[in-house]
Symmetry: C2
Subunit: 146 residues, 2 copies
DNA sequence: TCTTGCTCCTCTAGCCGCTAGAGCATGTAG
DNA sequence: CTACATGCTCTAGCGGCTAGAGGAGCAAGA
């Protein structure tokens, strides 16, 4: 019984890319930096991705979408690999990330306000009266924070 | 000698950095990429920044803070240099940036929600039950773009 | 069989906006 | 005069990919 060719067994990198939503060169890059283990190869030296690889790839992609950096993902993956442990680290990483996200949002809100003001106040005549340019040219305090 | 630092003359790069809030190497970098004109030099080959340079630097810094990329700043600066022209381009650049900012905010909001959910639902026991890890591992649709 | 045309391989270099460091010259205070 | 800060140029590195060269493998059609 040759059941070795089940449909979901292993796929080449192009399919892995389509299935996971991670681009082909990016998959190879993840392998290079050790985020994804080197998969099996065919006789012709092509990468063959199994289900576990694809799941890991999806995990990475999702985490990247949420803005986790590679280092954080490395930690999360290592946690995932040892399900006995406490998930306090994962929680901490997520919390740190949430704090970052909130900070970034606050900043963007300030930006939005300023941009809106710039645009609204711009009579859109000559540059000489342009609020957009003018606002940017205004001296800004910077002493403490960058 | 109490040679007064005449305020309206020209300052070396370190002072320019302190006054503008742009770091020394960054100032040199801006010169290198042609964002800031090469300033006058002393006999000893040191850069001397005059008021116009400092104002330009402040402009650049403010624009960078608002997230404009170097190309956009180049355009804004060239507009600033010709105050007769219509400021429609500046307006367009600012509007494009505003759209970007809003998009980014929406994304971050979604992120915040997901992170909040992840954290809230995590009982913080073993990894096996950790929502943080679990959520990241969930298959995500991506085919049509999220 | 050959050929077309896709996928895949490795390798190197480039992107942005800086930042860090080496190795040397200059300026200034004590 | 000596220390030490500040300046100079130059090169290389960061993260997280992305692009391209130059070649090999492989399935299907003529």
């Amino acid at each position: 019984m040759e059941r070795e060719k089940a449909p979901e067994t292993a796929v080449p990198i192009g399919d892995a890319a389509r299935l996971s939503g991670v681009k082909v060169p990016t998959i190879r890059y993840y392998e290079q930096i050790g985020l994804l283990p080197a998969p099996a190869r065919t006789e012709g030296n092509r990468r063959l991705y199994a289900g576990t690889d694809l799941r890991r790839l999806a995990f990475i992609r999702h985490a990247r979408e949420l803005g986790f950096d590679v280092d954080a993902i490395r930690t999360l993956l290592s946690l995932q690999d040892r399900p006995e442990q406490s998930c306090a680290s994962a929680d901490a990483i997520a919390r740190a990330r949430l704090a970052e996200v909130r900070q970034r949002m606050a900043k963007l809100k300030a930006l939005e306000d300023e941009l809106t003001r710039m645009i609204d106040e711009c009579a859109c005549g000559r540059v000489a009266e342009c609020r957009v340019i003018e606002t940017l040219a205004e001296p800004h305090r910077h002493g403490a924070l960058a």
